[in-house]
């Protein structure tokens, strides 16, 4: 009998968060100016989910990590070259747009179909991981929608820690208001976990892992199924970068004492 978890991580590519973004109108709806020219990275919260998945799999014999990613094939290939050096995983790619203006319901339908079709999927061992929000749409709903479509009734969002317990159970720390964590115990898989930052740093590149991953990544990209998701029933009335340029007063010649006095006065004002 198989043991361990089947960890499926849902995550896609986003423009590097440090890029300046400008909206643009495309035939498919709103998009980003020069979107395919922008450097991309694996969505930061999804990346945390992937690293946590790999860490959990390494501690739980018999576990396997599958990354299901819906994005433009060319961008996925670029990003996987870097991510593939970090942790071991198997890639299942879907070729479609990964922009923030796509409809999460359409994306979730595609992802759920793909997860259901994974060879040898065993719901009793399934942990569905992802970021609790993306750095593109930033809605925090896709993972939940996929979970509902897979009829998984135990879901957690803003997860920072998963600790396996006895009999297949596990303890989860979820972020809640006021900088606190809610502690819950789940009886076992299947479950959905939307990760916040977790507790792991970014793993260092490991050439051996990279070589092993690349044997599966390239064929997965070659057979990526088309997933032409759109904007669904959304009508965008306006899409714009807010014009929030402030007139900054630059104070150069004030002593620390005077700066402090001004700050204290400002802090005290209602």
């Amino acid at each position: 009998m198989s043991t361990g978890y089947q960890i499926v991580v849902l995550g896609s590519v986003v423009p590097d968060p440090l890029q300046t973004l400008e909206p643009a109108q495309t035939p498919q709806g709103p998009g980003l100016k020069n979107e395919l020219m922008l450097p991309h990275v694996l969505d930061p919260w999804a990346a945390h989910a992937l690293y946590e998945a790999a860490n959990l799999a390494a501690r739980t014999p018999g576990s396997k990590v599958t990354l299901v990613s819906l994005g433009p094939k060319a961008k996925l290939q670029q990003v996987m070259m870097a991510v593939g050096q970090k942790v071991p995983f198997e890639l299942v790619a879907l070729d479609g747009p990964a922009g923030g203006f796509t409809d999460p319901h359409e994306v979730a339908a595609r992802l759920a179909e793909t997860v259901k079709a994974l060879p040898g999927l065993d719901r009793s061992r399934l942990l569905l991981f992802g970021g609790w929000e993306s750095a593109s749409r930033g809605a925090g709903v896709t993972l939940q929608l996929v979970g509902e479509r897979l009829e998984i009734a135990d879901q957690f969002q803003g997860v920072d820690r998963l600790t396996p317990g006895e009999g297949g159970s596990f303890e989860v720390l979820e972020r809640v208001e006021g900088g606190k964590h809610q502690v819950s115990r789940c009886a076992g898989a299947p479950a959905v976990l939307g990760w916040a930052t977790g507790e792991l740093g970014e793993p260092k590149n490991n050439p051996q892992i990279g070589m092993a991953n690349m044997r599966g990544v390239m064929p997965a990209l070659q057979k990526a199924a088309p997933a032409p998701v759109g904007t669904g029933g959304v009508e965008f009335l306006s899409v714009a970068v807010p014009r929030a340029q402030r007139e900054t007063r630059i104070v150069k010649d004030m002593s620390p004492d005077d700066v402090a006095r001004e700050l204290v006065e400002w802090i005290g004002q209602d």
């Binding site: 968060p17 930033g138 896709t142 009734a153 972020r175 150069k252 802090i267």
Partner: protein
């Protein structure tokens, strides 16, 4: 005209979360008949607070099984309330509890969901405003599909003022909790750092950047002094602490820089976008704390040594070109004098 459901959980004491009154303001902006749906261990205080809310009906699911925030029971209760209300637009406050289930509820209703809503308008049909790409792009949109579940961001609306009056009649829905979940909530845990540094209700957000850990005039880093200065300000001003990503990552990489600093403090990028009336950034030089982390900070000031800091310029109201260590030492002393 859309029938509107204000959908919310209750707090542990049976009262309304503050964010629910903000969502009520948004619900009023939609117009149309208003129904309120409540779920939780008890709803008594929440119902009493709803006198004058203008609701045509209050629906409730209550009982010990629905007291704890967990997906299975919350999603079932919320979906049952939404179905019973017949509402085509469902507004909910974006508390962690509602955010955990909103999309699942929309899926169960065969509807659609949008989150992080900051504005709701009813001109020519319901339209909402929300942010994309981590608060960099703002869009106004509407949907034809119904029911439409909307999560309203805390702080986007002022809390609705209620005129008081008799509590509305409550229709309680019977909902069996058996088999809804395999999750048990064990409680809340504060970060192991010991000191509570995140205060959502604080007037001031103090953002610390990686400069606090760099070499100082003495020629070496002074993390202990930095820790004292930062904690001193938080205590004296009752401020909430935000951090740049580079600073919390240092802590995560085994460099024990500040004991009280965790990823929960991070603003921007993979951190939060908090809402406070004032923000003071110190030793930050990146886009993230100044643009994304500060998006909803009304008055912004910065202290750093780079007069040409491209991210502070145009984003802060005032940029003090000064040594943050020296400034904060004096600030703390002055705040201590004021008591």
């Amino acid at each position: 005209m859309d029938t509107v459901l204000l959908l919310t959980h209750t707090e542990a004491d049976g009262g309304l979360p503050r964010a629910a009154l903000e969502a009520l303001s948004a619900a009023r902006a939609v117009g149309g008949p208003l129904v309120v749906g409540l779920f939780g261990g008890s709803v008594e205080r929440a119902v009493a607070a709803l006198g004058g809310a203008g609701a045509t009906k209050v629906l409730a699911v209550e009982g010990p099984a629905f007291a704890d925030p967990r997906y299975g029971t919350d999603a079932a209760a919320a979906a049952a309330l939404a179905k019973a209300s017949g509402a085509s637009v469902v507004l909910a406050p974006a508390t962690s509890r509602m955010a955990r289930v909103a999309a699942g509820v929309a899926q169960r209703l065969g509807g659609r969901v949008d989150t992080h809503v900051t504005q709701v308008a009813a001109d020519g049909g319901v339209a909402v405003t929300r942010w994309f790409y981590k608060q960099r792009i703002e869009a106004r949109l509407r949907r034809k599909e119904r029911p439409w579940v909307l999560l309203v961001d805390p702080g986007a609306y002022p809390p609705a003022s209620l005129e008081g009056g008799a509590a509305p009649a409550v229709e309680r829905l019977a909902l069996a909790a058996d088999g809804l979940t395999r999750t048990e909530v064990l409680g809340l845990r504060a970060p192991s750092s010991g000191e509570q540094t995140i205060r959502p209700d604080a007037k001031l957000l103090f953002v610390a950047g990686a400069g606090w850990t760099k070499k100082q005039a003495s020629g070496k880093p002074e993390p202990e002094r930095a820790e004292q200065l930062i904690l001193g300000l938080l205590r004296a001003a009752g401020a909430s602490l935000g951090s740049s990503k580079s600073l919390v990552d240092q802590a995560g990489e085994g460099q024990k820089v500040f004991e009280f600093m965790t990823h929960l403090n991070q603003v921007g990028q993979t951190g939060s976008t908090p809402r406070h009336p004032k923000g003071l950034a110190t030793c930050c030089h990146g886009e993230e704390p100044h643009v994304v982390g500060w998006r909803f900070i009304r008055e912004r000031r910065a202290v750093n040594l780079d007069a040409g800091c491209g991210w502070a310029r145009g984003k802060a109201d005032v940029l003090y070109v000064a040594d943050a260590f020296a400034v904060m030492e004096k600030v703390n002393a002055l705040l201590a004098e004021k008591g």
